[in-house]
């Protein structure tokens, strides 16, 4: 089985870069290849000008925060954090100073004399982070470090990781299967599927202009339809016809939050008649499921005090040009 195939990726120095994909897409394998814990059958990895092919893990200036934390249970927090320096034969006194300093930055100062089995999940996470960061690697690899934490703690650590990355100016390569997390954290991200790169770009580009059907679905878009016919200034799909000059592509995407609903049945360009099937009130926004043409569309509107539409009501969907994206793939 091929875990990764033809992945060609350039990550900039000092960047927060995220590898995003469902489980089994090869993102962790890619991370392990960068760390030197696995060898690729072919291909090459370089950091800066240094080609790392055949260089064993312990000679790479790369450190990893493992998904399972992988703290050493027979060492206390202090000795866990200092392990990398100890292996590099840094003087004991110097190690102590740097451990103290790193513990301050990662907020584990009170935990230094505890054993790993006396730590909570979030504390273990911080210690694992400190243990990797103290070595000041060229690249820090993070393998789904937040996936085992509950939602609140997760959000808090997301912010802290970003802060740390900014503060240290280090290159972070972050792996996650959570697209929200990826968008919140990264400068740029790559979407992987079945060992192949789907798209690389900023979160905004990936969300608003997904390159493939897979990326669109994975980023959470619900209104993706095949283009059935194409005219000079229109495209025809299941939900109806859209007028305009569209680039070439196989599918059309309507961003649910950029569509708007109106009562009026005013005819006009790119106004689609529809009927409300379901209305899901979510507090800040309301999600409508609508019948439109032969298709089901989702529209999410912000609750700004307007009256809500009810199920069974006839409405008009106003498709603004910025709500439409064409998938080239």
């Amino acid at each position: 089985m091929t875990a990764l195939d033809g992945v060609d990726l350039e990550i900039k120095a000092g960047e927060f870069f995220t590898l995003l994909g469902p489980s089994g897409c090869g993102k962790t394998t890619l991370l392990r290849i960068i760390a030197g814990l696995e060898q690729p059958d072919s291909g090459s990895i370089a950091i800066g000008r240094r080609v790392l092919d055949g260089v064993p893990a312990h000679q790479r200036s790369v450190n990893t925060v493992f998904q399972s934390y992988a703290l050493f249970p027979n060492r206390n927090v202090r000795d866990n954090i200092g392990f990398g320096l100890q292996m590099q034969r840094v003087k004991r006194q110097r190690i102590q100073q740097r451990v103290e300093a790193m513990a301050e930055i990662t907020k584990v100062h009170d935990l230094l004399d505890r054993n790993p089995d006396q730590l909570s999940g979030g504390q273990k996470q911080r210690v694992a982070l400190a243990r990797a960061l103290i070595n000041e690697p060229d690249v820090l690899l993070l393998d789904e470090p937040l996936s085992a934490l509950d939602a609140g703690l997760r959000g808090q650590l997301q912010v802290e990781l970003q802060r740390l990355q900014r503060q240290l100016g280090m290159t972070f390569v972050f792996v996650t299967h959570d697209q929200q997390e990826a968008m919140v954290m990264s400068h740029r991200m790559a979407v992987l599927h079945e060992g192949r790169l789907q798209q690389v770009g900023s979160p905004q580009v990936i969300y608003e202009q997904p390159a493939t059907l897979f990326v669109a679905r994975f980023m959470g878009h619900q209104n993706v339809f095949e283009i059935q016919q194409r005219g000079a200034e229109e495209i025809v799909t299941e939900f109806g016809c859209l007028k305009g000059l569209f680039p070439a592509g196989s599918h059309v995407l309507l961003r649910e939050e950029a569509l708007s609903l109106t009562h009026s049945d005013v005819a006009g360009p790119n106004r689609l008649p529809a009927r409300v099937e379901e209305c899901l009130y979510r507090g800040g926004s309301t999600e409508y499921r609508l019948f439109c043409g032969n298709a089901r569309l989702t529209v999410r509107s912000h609750n700004l005090g307007q009256t809500l539409f009810t199920a069974g009501q006839d409405v008009t969907i106003d498709v603004a040009p910025e709500a439409v994206a064409i998938l080239p793939g």
Binding site: A35, G36, L37, P56, A57, H58, Q59, V62, N63, T64, F66, S68, A70, L71, F72, P73, N74, F83, G84, M87, Q88, R131, A132, N135
Partner: protein, 296 residues
């Protein structure tokens, strides 16, 4: 009140049989043995009054003909042969256990059975097997003579070498099994973390693999070193007079040598030495182990 009576009744029912077992088969015999050790022996070798420390003097080497170091040599040899065999068993078992634990799941039970099967045979028969392999004129004996380790026409036994081989062979399964258990639940992520944090393969072994297998290693050491120290059959059959161990010394006193108080004193010494050894191992385990719960 009734509740208390009921609970203590349950307690007696649960732990009673075990306590009785230990009292009848461990505590009483040990007390009996201890009391014999402090008696003097009659002309036929049986214990008699008055109380004396004669047997301990004899054990230390003071006989009718003055002091001789024979018994102390035997004790030293027991310690040395047991230690040496245990170290060899560890060195051989460690790679075996690792190898088995890294095979595909369906092959492992078979390999473990192959390790264990020889121990289902009686110790004496296994020792006799080695006697046949090491006898004069066998390929092994000839090969060793060819290399100049032994003189031609001589067998490889009786010798200390044969005793150590016999003991290592005997105790291998008792080390392989606990080590295998330790390797099977080895957290590989820790090894990878060590490698990732600049540990060479050797240092990763000592910092991430060894600490994780230490409980198994210590359990195996207890299972091997304690019986190895008291080994009787192997030195009796594969070793000559110059490789007999304290187990043989004790056995002789109760059989042909016929000096029960001396035998009892020897047995007492073995128990004390074993307890001391266990104490040292336990302290080492407490200090080094990565896990709280220990077999010790």
């Amino acid at each position: 009140m009734r509740q208390v009576v009921k609970q203590s009744g349950q307690l007696v029912a649960i732990i009673g049989p075990g306590v009785l077992w230990i009292i009848f088969f461990l505590v009483l015999p040990s007390l009996y043995l201890m009391s014999i050790a402090f008696l003097s022996n009659d002309p036929y070798g049986l214990p008699q009054l008055p109380l004396s420390l004669q047997s301990f003097r004899e054990l230390a080497g003071f006989g009718i003909l003055g002091w001789s170091p024979g018994n102390l040599f035997t004790l030293g040899r027991s310690l040395w042969q047991a230690t040496f065999s245990t170290v060899l068993v560890i060195l051989i078992s460690y790679p075996i256990a690792y190898y088995i634990a890294t095979r595909p799941v369906h092959l492992r039970p078979l390999m473990l059975v192959l390790i264990v099967v020889p121990s289902w045979t009686n110790q004496v028969i296994r020792a006799v097997g080695w006697m046949n392999l090491f006898a004069p004129g066998t390929p092994l004996a000839n090969f060793s003579a060819m290399l100049g380790f032994t003189t031609p026409q001589m067998g490889l036994f009786p010798s200390q070498f044969a005793v150590v081989v016999g003991m290592v062979y005997n105790f291998l399964p008792f080390m392989v099994l606990p080590l295998y258990a330790a390797f099977e639940r080895l957290d590989r992520a820790q090894v990878e973390a060590a490698r990732d944090l600049f540990a060479t393969p050797t240092r990763a072994f000592f910092h991430a693999v060894l600490p994780q297998t230490l409980p198994g290693l210590l359990a195996g050491t207890v299972l091997v070193a304690v019986p190895a120290f008291g080994m009787f059959v192997v030195p009796e059959l594969l070793g000559g007079g110059r490789s007999s161990m304290i187990g043989n010394l004790v056995a002789r006193q109760f059989a042909d040598g016929a000096n029960w108080p001396l035998g009892a004193a020897g047995a007492l010494l073995m128990i004390l030495a074993t307890l001391f050894g266990l104490y040292v191992l336990r302290r080492a385990a407490r200090r080094l182990s990565s896990e709280r719960e220990m077999l010790l």
